[in-house]
């Protein structure tokens, strides 16, 4: 735990990382905006959501300090929250997507 403190951050400046993540997020926003004009059939939604998930993961890991400064308990809370979200969306959609009569 002690090695994960903020003082560890100041030893090697994280600024390069922050600006790198920021630039990546902007590039990904531009990519998803442009790729939405290309007809990929059903894969348009897939590509858009994959890019959104990469962006969300980058924000959580590096801007919200999950990668460097979080305790295991915090990570458990995050994984549990995402798991229950996927359970909500996943189970609902397996129902609605497999109703031949609707």
């Amino acid at each position: 735990m002690a090695e994960h403190t903020a003082s560890n951050h100041s030893k090697s400046s994280p600024l390069k990382l922050y600006f790198g993540v920021w630039a990546t997020l902007l590039v990904l926003t531009f990519v998803t905006y442009e790729v939405s004009l290309v007809d990929l059939g059903p894969f348009n939604s897939v590509v858009a959501l994959v890019i959104a998930s990469i962006k969300a993961t980058l924000v959580a890991l590096f801007f919200m300090h999950v990668w460097h400064a979080s305790e295991k308990l915090t990570k458990l809370v995050i994984v549990a929250a995402v798991f229950f979200l996927l359970l909500l969306l996943g189970l609902t959609m397996t129902d609605y997507a497999t109703r031949p009569w609707s």
Binding site: M1, A2, T5, A6, S7, H9, S10, P14, L15, Y18, F19, V21, W22, L25, L26, T29, F30, T32, Y33, S36, L37, V38, D39, L40, N44, S45, A48, L49, I51, A52, K55, A56, V59, A60, F62, F63, M64, H65, S70, E71, L73, T74, V77, I78, A80, A81, V82, F84, L85, L88, L89, T92, M93, Y96, A97, S102
Partner: protein
Amino acid sequence: MAEAETVMGLHQEELQHPELLHHFADAEQQRNSASLGMWVFLGTEIMFFGGMFCAYLIYRHWYFGDFGAASKSIDATLGATNTAVLICSSLTVVLAVWAAQTARKTLLVTMLTITMLLGLVFLGIKAKEYSDKFEEHHVPGASFSFNNAPLPHHPGQYANPRHAQIFFSLYFMMTGIHALHMIVGLGIFSWLLCMSWKGRFTPTYYTPVEVGGLYWHFVDIVWIYLFPLLYLIDRRR
């Protein structure tokens, strides 16, 4: 004897860090606990927004083409600009946290101010988008009108206005609740700005900046998903 020393030790610690509450061993434990509590709150927020995303997915599945046609009527460039604005504000938030960690007061105050300005730019662009929708009669209600909108991939067919109205209901609800979170965020950040100005934050005590930052980043993540789902689902052709 050993017990007395521990008590003495605690007093020492309390004198060095007046912000340290007596039930925490040290500043780091206190900071980690605050961060954990914030993440539990964000977990409830994930489920709160998750319900709306779930409703969106069900209706998108049912009224696939109508949602595409309705989504096309929203200005995707404004949405992309707002995404970029929020990403920039996330950078300034993380720089503010870094400034607090490294005792750079001027940088902290500057970054918090820029974050709030970017938040206001976001809300301004949002207001422009909403006013466009009002002018086009795309706001669900008595004066809603969405006639003769061609259905994507079905030449000669038109979107069902009743189904399109559900898209716009979800659009206003999701972006509206998100905008409400932005306004709450601006409130939190004005308080942080005030406290930073007074010099309340130090490299051992910057928990409010860190926790407020977590909230801001979370609101950014929600927007990262709203942007493709509401603006980009049927731009092709």
